[in-house]
């Protein structure tokens, strides 16, 4: 199966042209025999006509009929290039020679065909008879006192047909290379021409954007045969747009519906914590509830983000970000949080990338936070960045207390949590299983890639690509 449609069309058209060429070649032989024979009869009858005219003008008494016939036969014989003996016979109705008697006998019952449709002169008829196993064509010409008969062996006529055919053959042979070139060019043109509207359609398809509400492909600019196809595509796009709008609307509504009660709960809890007496059991419990509410808020924020991403609705406010400053500051903070972990970063000082500052910050805190959270107490964290093929690759690598087995692309799935740790005594770390999937959506929204890799000695690497500024 050939994958390229263009190639398929090309080969198809080429095959068609070949079939056409072969078919014509065979057919020409079949079809051209008739006309060529007719042409020969025509020529012959013209010659006969000339002879009759000459005979009419010459003084009839001087030459006897037999001589006249001989002259006519001689003159007619000259118009054939390869006349063999006895292939041409001429006689007058009243006086056939002895050798011709048998022919005359056959003529009696022959069916005569009028030749006047090819020749202007009337009174010329044609009959075909079988004589001694060969076919003879007999022409009867009137105009003299009596009819004149001219019989021609058909082999003679066919020989000249094949001469003509072989001439044609020679012409074709000379034309052959030219014909092939012509066929190729024609095929190329055909495949280009046939594909052009499809290419144009494809271009229009790629230009349609989901985001812009009323953009459709106009049916009027394309062939009638494409209309159904375009209509179907337009319907599909409309359908997608509707669900896109609904999804965006849903997340917005859901967010509003969740946020209002959360705001109220948080506000009142906060007041209660402040109003209850310091250090009391009630205050402690209230603050625990408040902590859970914070978690709920954080999860609902992330879910909103994710559903926005699903609807393709993450809006980016791209800015230039100086990576070294951002990472440096973050590492300073993290060092403060975790004095036992060894931090290291290797980032070119002039490296800038283009991204939504808030989202990028969120991603980096998430990755660095994970790097710390799932690390050994005295582990290592390395952050590096490099410019490769016009893309900035940011890598966060760290040692981890998690088992490396099963630590793969699934970590980017929603609510997936990799629970096994090398040291089973480690207490369960808090988390919602949404952080990395959010990271992935952030990277995807920027048109980049994100991947996770494990390396020996408990190292995990997550790297992502960004647009260079």
């Amino acid at each position: 199966m050939i994958q390229s449609f263009r190639l398929n069309v090309f080969l198809g058209v080429l095959a068609c042209m070949l079939i056409f060429a072969v078919a014509t070649r065979i057919m020409v032989r079949q079809v051209s025999e008739g006309p060529i024979l007719l042409y020969q009869y025509e020529t012959l009858s013209k010659h006969i006509d000339n002879e009759i005219e000459e005979l009419k003008q010459s003084p009839q008494n001087k030459i006897d009929v037999a001589s006249q016939v001989q002259i006519v036969q001689y003159n007619l014989g000259k118009s054939f290039a390869d006349l063999r003996p006895n292939e041409l016979q001429v006689w007058m109705a009243s006086s056939p020679s002895q050798g011709q008697n048998q022919l005359v006998g056959l003529i009696e019952n022959a069916s005569w065909r009028d030749l006047s449709f090819t020749i202007e002169k009337p009174g010329m008829t044609l009959a075909e008879i079988s004589y001694q196993g060969e076919t003879w064509s007999v022409l009867r010409a009137s105009g003299l006192q009596e009819d004149m008969f001219v019989a021609v062996n058909k082999n003679l006529l066919l020989r000249s047909v094949s001469t003509i055919m072989s001439t044609r053959e020679a012409v074709v042979k000379n034309l052959w290379p030219l014909l092939i070139v012509f066929a190729l060019v024609a095929t190329l043109f055909m495949s280009y021409w046939a594909l052009k509207p499809i290419m144009r359609l494809q271009q229009s398809f790629t230009k349609v954007q989901l985001g812009s509400p009323n953009e459709r492909i106009s049916e009027a600019h394309f062939f009638r045969e494409f209309r159904d196809f375009i209509r179907y595509f337009n319907d599909l796009i409309d359908h997608l747009r509707t669900s896109y709008k609904q999804a965006a609307r849903f997340s917005s509504d859901a967010a509003h519906e969740l946020r209002t009660p959360l705001t109220i709960i948080r506000g009142h809890l906060h007041r209660l914590v402040n109003e209850s007496s310091d250090g009391s059991k009630l205050q402690l419990e209230l603050s625990l509830v408040a902590e859970e509410v914070e978690r709920l808020i954080s999860i609902s924020n992330k879910l909103l983000m994710l559903s926005l991403a699903d609807a393709g609705g993450i809006k980016l406010d791209k800015q230039e970000i100086k990576l070294l400053d951002l990472v440096g500051e973050m590492v300073e903070d993290l060092k403060l949080f975790n004095p036992d972990i060894d931090f290291d970063f290797e980032i070119p000082s002039n490296l800038r990338l283009k991204a939504d500052a808030d989202l990028f910050y969120q991603l980096l805190t998430n990755l660095m936070g994970n790097a710390v959270k799932y690390n050994h107490p005295q582990g290592q964290v390395k952050c590096s960045a490099e410019l490769r093929n016009d893309q900035v690759w940011v890598t966060v690598a760290n040692t981890t207390s998690l088992t490396l087995e099963g630590l793969d692309h699934r970590v980017f799935e929603r609510f997936y949590r990799h629970r096994q740790s090398v040291n089973q005594n480690l207490s369960e770390k808090p988390g919602d299983g949404l952080g990395l999937s959010l990271c992935r959506e952030i990277v995807l929204a920027h048109g980049g890639q994100i991947e996770i890799k494990t390396e020996p000695e408990q190292w995990v690497k997550i790297r992502s690509s960004w647009e260079v500024a």
Partner: protein, 227 residues
């Protein structure tokens, strides 16, 4: 301070009003956009707190109408929507600040204070609370006889607590407001930072009674004492 609150959700309005009353703001509450706009045009307010999804008249329209009447009262938008476009639209139409729900009442109060003083052109160089002085530009803290330079984070932490004296801040709240981290990093960074602040601003010569104004509420959070 006299504040106009335009918010349709009664329970949210309740706790905002309670929070405002605690810090001595007078609040006028309107429940829909139309009345809110009317009140805003008739009476004089120091600031307006405006919800976006309102009955009768949409918050953005109210905002646009207020600005069309050449009223320069500072306006803070409260919204459950956090879309960039919503935020930008708000600022475009002349809002001074934008706070997403759910929010902390302390943050709202601080933002109101900030926009009001910005409008009046009176950003105070120093902040004084319970005897502790904080210089906003040089980041120098002055407590009793000690004067120290603070790092960016230490400064932000102290400022955050000082702006809402008497209020308890949970660790998460501090993380969000000072570090802008919206998740639990699983570490005690806040405690470490508070301890460093404390260490920087106390010495052995200090009498027992002179308590450092940041108080630890065990298991709950921190509070800047208000006395």
């Amino acid at each position: 301070m006299n504040i106009l609150l335009i918010e349709d959700e009664q329970r949210i309005a309740d706790f905002i009003v309670a929070g405002f009353t605690d810090v001595g703001f007078t609040t006028h509450w309107e429940q829909d956009g139309f009345r809110g706009l009317n009140t805003a045009l008739i009476k004089n307010f120091d600031a307006i707190v405006l919800d976006l999804t309102l009955p009768m008249m949409d918050g953005l329209t109210v905002l646009a109408e207020i600005r069309r009447k050449n009223l320069a009262t500072p306006i803070i938008i409260l919204s459950a929507r956090t879309d960039l476009t919503d935020r930008l639209q708000g600022f475009e139409k002349g809002a001074d600040d934008y706070l997403a729900k759910p929010f902390f009442i302390e943050e709202l109060i601080i933002r109101i204070k900030t926009v009001v003083s910005r409008k009046q052109g009176s950003v105070e160089k120093t902040m004084v609370q319970s005897g502790l002085t904080l210089d906003r530009f040089t980041r120098v803290a002055h407590w009793k006889n000690i004067k120290v330079n603070l790092t960016q984070r230490e400064y932000l932490l102290l400022e955050c607590l000082m702006l809402s004296p008497g209020q308890i801040f949970s660790r998460q709240q501090i993380l969000k407001q000072v570090w802008q981290i919206d998740f639990d990093p699983g570490t005690n960074v806040v405690d470490v930072c508070v301890q460093r602040l404390r260490k920087k601003l106390t010495d052995d010569k200090m009498p027992e009674g002179e308590q450092f104004p940041i108080e630890t509420i065990r298991g709950v959070g921190y509070r800047f004492n208000n006395y």
